[in-house]
């Protein structure tokens, strides 16, 4: 199920003008405020009618201005989780959850009520009114309500933005499972950590346009895009599998870049995790350093270097089948003679789980 979007519409002083195709799984729309992210999902939902555009989901056309076709929101079968939840204040949680189901077409498939209630932990809330819910509870009900309308596409507009760190930690596991359901999910976010944790595909937006789209690991490892994530957020996303935990508490992880060691990871062998390697935590050495405290040192090859105004640079290092980013100065680039094709060693000062990064940094 592919979601194809092409839009052109005025956006304040700018113009929303982009075209992309989102594969199944979570596609993050990432970019600064005012980039037009919410306008894109409003157009997909039918709440915004663009001047020109075409939107199709799994072959069915939702919008085609060239043919004068624009399905109303109620005919599009999107599940929209609004940033401000928008629960119906006059209905209790149960009635909010079941609101959409009665409008779904007969043949529509989707998760059942009991399944969603159990998944989102809503049993104790069913008889309550939205006014009596906390922010995190409201967000969970909003997600459940959208899923129970049996949608073909799920749209999430910064569902975590209004929440504090503990509430985020409470909801993230549910969002992680959404992509596994097989329906396309558009996830609007301006948090690199959220995107790194949840998305399979990343669409980077700036000033109404798509700057880049691709698999999460590729986009996060692109030195030309690193500046868009910000100096302290840029860095690679690396899928990994837990291999074994040594008696001293250190866990070995298998990755496409090679084996990595991480402390404090309580997970059985075989567990799949996502690692974040921040560019500012990566040092580069031409020869393998000795007598150094860093545990994770991997041999690699410089693939690309992007200079930045102000004397800094981003270096992309190929490690086995994957790549990571390092942030360094242009002076170091010159001093070490770094250039594409040069062999080097990447010293990873710190490797964190994408999961932990998000709940810690919130």
């Amino acid at each position: 199920m592919m979601l194809e979007v092409a839009l052109s519409h005025p956006l304040g002083a700018l113009r929303l003008d982009l075209r992309f195709a989102a594969p199944p799984g979570v596609t993050a729309l990432f970019g600064p405020s005012g980039a037009g992210k919410t306008s894109v999902i409003n157009a997909v939902a039918g709440l915004l009618r663009p001047e020109t555009g075409r939107i199709a989901c799994a072959g069915e056309v939702l919008l085609d201005t060239a043919r004068g076709l624009c399905l109303p929101p109620e005919a599009r079968r999107v599940g929209y989780v609004f940033q401000d939840a928008r629960l119906f204040p006059h209905l209790d949680v149960r009635a909010n959850l079941t609101y959409g189901a009665r409008f779904a077409p007969r043949g529509a498939t989707g998760p059942g009520f009991d399944q969603i209630v159990a998944l989102l932990g809503l049993e104790a809330l069913l008889a309550r009114r939205p006014a009596a819910l906390s922010g995190g509870e409201k967000a969970r009900v909003a997600i459940g309500r959208a899923l129970l309308s049996k949608p073909r596409i799920l749209l999430l507009d910064e569902p975590l933005a209004a929440l504090d760190a503990p509430r985020r930690a409470e909801i993230l596991p549910f969002l992680e499972r959404l992509g596994e359901a097989g329906l396309p999910v558009l996830y609007v976010s301006h948090s690199a950590a959220e995107v790194a944790r949840l998305a399979q595909t990343v669409l980077i937006m700036a000033e109404g346009r798509a700057r880049a789209i691709g698999p999460t690991a590729e986009v996060f490892a692109d030195p030309g895009l690193a500046g868009l994530f910000g100096a302290d957020q840029a860095g690679a996303v690396l899928p990994a599998r837990v291999a074994e935990t040594a008696p001293d508490g250190l866990t070995r992880l298998e990755t496409e870049a090679g084996p990595l060691f991480i402390a404090d990871l309580a997970a059985p062998p075989g567990t799949e995790v996502r690692l974040r390697i921040h560019a500012s935590d990566v040092m580069i050495a031409r020869t393998r350093p000795e007598q150094i405290s860093a545990l994770n040192i991997l041999p690699g090859v410089i693939e690309r270097i992007e200079a930045e105004p102000g004397g800094r640079a981003w270096a992309q290092i190929r490690l086995g089948q994957s790549a990571i980013l390092a942030r360094l100065t242009q002076r170091s680039v010159a001093a070490l003679g770094l250039a594409p094709g040069v062999a080097c060693h990447a010293i990873l000062k710190s490797v964190v789980l994408a999961r932990d990064e998000l709940s810690l940094r919130a």
Binding site: A45, G46, L47, P72, P73, E74, R76, R77, V78, G79, Y80, F82, D84, R86, F88, P89, H90, D92, Y99, G100, F103, A104, R128, R129, P130, A131, A132, R145, A146, S149
Partner: protein, 232 residues
């Protein structure tokens, strides 16, 4: 405080006229309020003025216009009598029409304010969940504006109970047919003597009691509904 049969008739007629006026005015009242709150276009200002006219015109003038339009020889009155056998002139139905028209602006104002307080983003949410506009109105908008609708209905009812000028102009003051409470009070005041002034006082007291009761009831219901909607 014993009521004479005539006075009792006037009271019951007033209640009937007020109730029928409110029930018949509610659907168009909600529709017009919705259109005034959400609609666009040049016609909106004109309709707004038309709706509010009975509030600012002398009631006698409103009654006169009603007579012109809905009298047996009036264009609307003649049509309704021919097609549906519905006669307004000098009937209690005419009193209800006059009361409804006079109460309409109050009702529309209250409902319009309630509609303007509804967050349209909730209605958008309902549409993304698959509800067509009519279903959105029935399941989201209407429950949310219920307190305003109730307040508007009670206001219009109180106005209908007190309406005098347009009623007496349009349908006269026929005991048992079009003589409502205010008309009965007026008639009693025309007659000299202690008995008649006692009757006027009795009827006036009843008017005060009915109006107060209506107001208290509306406060009570509106508060209950608002609390239920807020989820308290």
């Amino acid at each position: 405080m014993g009521l004479t049969p005539e006075e009792l008739t006037a009271l019951l007629l007033s209640l009937k006229v007020g109730a029928v006026a409110v029930v018949c005015a509610l659907p168009p009242g909600v529709a017009v309020a919705l259109w005034l709150a959400r609609g666009r276009g040049p016609l909106r200002g004109a309709v707004n003025l038309l709706v509010h006219l009975p509030l600012i015109l002398p009631p006698v003038v409103t009654g006169y216009f009603l007579l012109l339009a809905f009298g047996r020889k009036g264009p609307v009155g003649a049509f309704l009598e021919e097609t549906f056998g519905l006669v307004f002139a000098f009937r209690w139905t005419g009193a209800a029409l006059a009361a409804g028209v006079m109460g309409f602006p109050l009702m529309v104002r209250a409902i319009r304010l309630a509609i303007e307080a509804v967050d349209p983003r909730l209605e958008e949410a309902a549409r993304t969940l698959g509800a067509r506009p009519l279903a959105v109105f029935a399941t989201v908008t209407l429950p949310l504006i219920a307190p305003g609708v109730i307040a508007g209905a009670i206001l219009a009812f109180a106005k209908a109970m007190g309406e005098f000028g347009a009623t007496i102009t349009f349908v006269s003051n026929i005991p048992g047919q079009t003589q409502t409470l205010p008309s009965a009070i007026y008639t009693a005041l025309q007659v000299p003597g202690p008995e008649a002034s006692a009757a006027a006082a009795r009827l006036a007291l009843i008017s005060v009691a009915v109006a107060t009761g209506a107001l208290l009831a509306s406060e009570f219901i509106a508060r209950r509904v608002a609390a239920r909607i807020r989820g308290a």
